[in-house]
């Protein structure tokens, strides 16, 4: 077991190192000159030279990289060139916002997708099946930004039920926090709900034709009990796997939704940083994201080993 964990931990370090090189090189390929952005409209040549020197942009790429990674190893992700705030502080502020949005979107998508999938399978080839399929298809084919703007115009501007944009932290006022995030979470979770609905329907149709379901019915169990306790329990296994895989997609999918609803999360941070060539923010955000994902995977592997005795001896 120790060697297994040792290998996993040893893999963590080179992976992060490779990510750091990749993100550094990729952003250098972006066209445009950060110094031109930072020098302001007047673009004074002396100021441009000063900025290049201050930000090490006038040094060779390799030197720039080692300067940056050296600071990162000391826990310093640098300062945002644009707003002059520590990148670590920006990341710590933004990550929870996006995590809340993704979590809410996930809950919404499961709450809508799974019951609709069950209904569609149980009422196969009826009016309800067609309605559920139609909704699923619409969910899959509706662009997020269009749905977002439509919701804002109808729910916020016309009906005045919810604020059109912005964000309030859960810790400050949970009601207001839900009010500001419910629409973006719905938009973000909408496509996943459709995917879950279709997978649940398919898995349920297979399950409902199995012998154990026929046996359950033959025993005289109520149909509700047959569907929920016998068929659904088995049908949910692939659906749960899919939902778990899609959670990561929700985090990255939040980029567009955050733009539409002006939510100050991770997605908006990185989009603004890319458009303003704010390299330290781009590098910091990607590095932190990669570290979180890899770290959580490592943690999960460790827990698997503890939970599954067979892995300890393998």
């Amino acid at each position: 077991m120790k060697s297994h964990l040792g290998i996993r931990i040893a893999q963590f370090i080179p992976t992060i190192f490779l990510v750091s090189i990749m993100v550094f090189c990729l952003q250098q390929l972006m066209p445009g000159d950060p110094a031109l952005v930072l020098a302001g409209e007047e673009r004074d040549p002396e100021v441009l030279a000063q900025i290049r020197a201050e930000l090490w942009l006038d040094r060779p790429l390799v030197i720039q990289y080692f300067h940056w990674i050296g600071n990162v190893l000391q826990g310093d992700l640098g300062f945002s060139w644009r707003i002059r705030q520590p990148v670590l502080q920006l990341v710590a502020t933004k990550l929870p916002v996006t995590a809340q949005l993704a979590a809410m979107a996930f809950i919404i998508s499961v709450s809508i997708g799974v019951p609709m999938g069950i209904l569609s399978a149980v009422k196969k080839n009826t009016f309800w099946d067609y309605v559920a399929n139609g909704i699923g298809l619409a969910g899959l084919s509706t662009p997020n930004f269009w749905l977002g703007i439509m919701l804002i115009l109808i729910v916020s501007v016309q009906l005045g039920w919810l604020p059109p944009s912005g964000y309030v932290p859960l810790t400050e006022d949970w009601r207001q926090s839900l009010a500001t995030t419910i629409m973006p979470a719905f938009v973000l979770g909408n496509a996943l709900a459709a995917v879950l609905m279709r997978h649940t329907r398919s898995a349920m149709l297979t399950a409902l034709e199995q012998d154990y379901v026929r046996t359950a019915r033959a025993k005289g169990l109520m149909e509700m009990r047959v569907v929920l306790r016998h068929a659904l329990r088995n049908a949910l296994v692939p659906v749960v796997t899919l939902g778990a895989l899609e959670l990561g997609t929700l985090l990255s999918g939040a980029v567009l939704t955050e733009q539409v609803f002006s939510i100050p999360g991770f997605g908006k941070l990185i989009v603004d940083a890319v458009f303003n060539r704010d390299y330290p923010v781009v590098q910091g955000v990607v590095l932190v994201t990669a570290s979180v994902y890899i770290g959580l995977n490592l943690l999960a592997d460790i827990i698997y080993v503890f939970l599954n005795p067979r892995l300890r001896t393998s």
Binding site: L36, A39, I83, A103, P169, F275
Partner: protein
């Protein structure tokens, strides 16, 4: 298991989120079109940053609705000679940290603009030689050479005075907690979400401030900014899209303020920067004149901007006292365009590459130009480019024609000199004309407005022959606001000044 862990991590980090604040009565929420950069007057470079500074940082002088220079922190100013400008400060003024606003602070701030690493003010006041403190309330600015536009530079960020004590303590991090002498003091900033400033009770003109708090909310999308205004979650929104003005006017709860701005939109023709071999458009002013003759400025204004903007043929906007009314935009003349192309010996269609930035209105403008120019024999290829990439292409000379605007400055010099004088930083077209250079230098040395206006008229006439740039229109400032707001003063720089503003009930 893994998603559960992810959620657990999120739950742990959620309490790290910054605290939102409950706003006091008389809170004004203003939707701005982008997030500001560093809130340091020396380093700031964005227009939205200037909106925030309008509340935070007073300047030595300001501009009024007619673009006259009026005292702000200064009680008065006077030119002692052609190179010496003297300011007498108002007595008993305080910075937000309660330190005094005095001549030493003025000297400190101006020297900071000139010497701080990365200062974007350096180019604006580079002609300043040194600052002399005469007494605690009198300061003299001595220039290297006569420069009449210098005073107008002090009506923007270059004239903002910061607390020396706070600046020295914060160093390069001053922008995280700026301390100035404006009507509002900095409270908090959540990047990309809000900048909050609160009323400063010790402000020198506190009687004219009727708002307790201002919250600046960056909302990039025009539609969403307008939706917030209509839903009542904003009281004011800047840069309403021209196509949305009708909606604002139709809503009884809202009001639109429309007035002349300081900027312009133009076609910049690359004359001699980079590209080899030079194209016919780069080589021959007749080809550029033909292109200009094929374009109907009013049609662009009508199709893309709902007819709200003002077609121009000079870089000085109509709002400016230096605007030359005799320089009128020529009408479209396709026959003339064809004749000029024939005289230049051009076989049509002549392929021309027009670089545009990748926004909806710029693409539309490009398409209208493409369509009009085609009738005269130009085959315009549009090159839609993201703004920062386009900026780099422009400075490198990697363009033939570029549809590019300028936000404008209070003095016409800020719209002209650095773009057109030989070897100046913004002269990306590498245009060089001894006549225009001489006229531009004369405008700097001259202080009489009428004489300067005449000089700018001559410059415009010469430019319309040489055509390193074709001015298309001057945009209007479009601000939407709650109908209950009163006391708004439209000033051509487009900034929202809170002084005198009342929110109503």
């Amino acid at each position: 298991m893994r998603p559960i862990l992810l959620l657990a991590a999120a739950a742990i980090t959620i309490p790290l989120t910054l605290q939102a604040q409950t706003n006091p009565p008389q809170t004004l929420r203003i939707g701005i079109a982008d997030d500001a950069d560093a809130l340091d007057p020396t380093l700031s470079r964005t227009l939205v940053g200037r909106f925030v500074f309008a509340s935070l940082c007073d300047k030595l002088v300001d501009i009024d609705a007619k673009l006259n220079i009026v005292p702000q922190l200064a009680a008065s100013y006077a030119w002692i000679d052609s190179k010496t400008l003297e300011f007498k400060l108002r007595p008993d003024m305080k910075f937000h940290d309660m330190t005094p606003v005095d001549a030493e602070a003025v000297k400190f701030s101006l020297e900071r603009h000139l010497t701080m690493a990365g200062s974007t003010r350096k180019g604006e006041i580079g002609t300043l030689d040194h600052v002399e403190v005469v007494n605690p309330l009198t300061v003299r600015l001595v220039l290297k050479s006569p420069n009449s536009p210098f005073l107008a530079q002090l009506s923007d960020r270059s004239g903002m005075i910061v607390s020396p004590k706070a600046s020295l303590a914060a160093g390069a991090n001053f922008g995280q907690h700026p301390v100035c002498a404006g009507p509002f003091k900095f409270t908090e900033r959540v990047p990309q979400d809000r900048i909050v400033v609160d009323r400063f009770a010790e402000y020198w003109d506190a009687g004219n401030i009727h708002v307790n708090r201002v919250v600046y909310q960056p909302i990039v999308d025009n539609t969403i900014r307008l939706a917030n205004l209509r839903a009542g979650t904003l009281e004011m929104a800047e840069r309403i899209a021209p196509t949305d003005i009708a909606q604002v006017k139709a809503d009884p709860k809202l009001r639109a303020e429309i007035f002349d701005g300081l900027g312009y939109q133009s076609l910049s023709f690359n004359i001699g920067n980079g590209r080899q071999p030079r194209t016919a458009m780069m080589r021959d002013s007749k080809v550029r004149q033909a292109f200009a003759a094929a374009i109907d400025r009013q049609a662009i204004n009508d199709v893309v901007y709902s007819g709200l903007f003002t077609p121009i043929a000079q870089g000085v906007p109509p709002a400016s006292p230096f605007y030359a009314p005799e320089i009128k935009p020529a009408g479209r003349d396709v026959a003339l365009a064809k004749k000029l192309l024939a005289e230049a010996g051009i076989k049509t269609p002549l392929t021309v590459e027009l670089m545009i930035t990748n926004s909806a209105d710029q693409r539309q403008t490009g398409e209208v130009i493409q369509s009009m120019a085609a009738e005269a024999g130009f085959d315009v290829k549009l090159r839609a480019t993201e703004f920062v990439t386009a900026l780099k292409a422009q400075t490198d000379g990697d363009y033939e024609v570029f549809l590019i605007g300028w936000s404008g400055r209070a003095d016409a010099d800020g719209n002209m000199y650095n773009f057109l004088h030989t070897d100046t930083p913004l002269n990306d077209a590498h245009y060089s004309s001894a006549t225009v250079d001489s006229l531009l230098e004369q405008t700097r040395a001259e202080t009489d407005v009428t004489v300067r206006r005449g000089l700018y008229g001559k410059i415009a006439a010469q430019l319309n022959l040489d055509l390193p740039v074709m001015y298309i229109y001057s945009p209007k400032v479009l601000i939407g606001m709650n109908a209950k707001i009163s006391g708004f003063t439209p000033i051509a720089d487009g900034l929202i000044r809170i002084k005198g503003l009342k929110m109503g009930q």
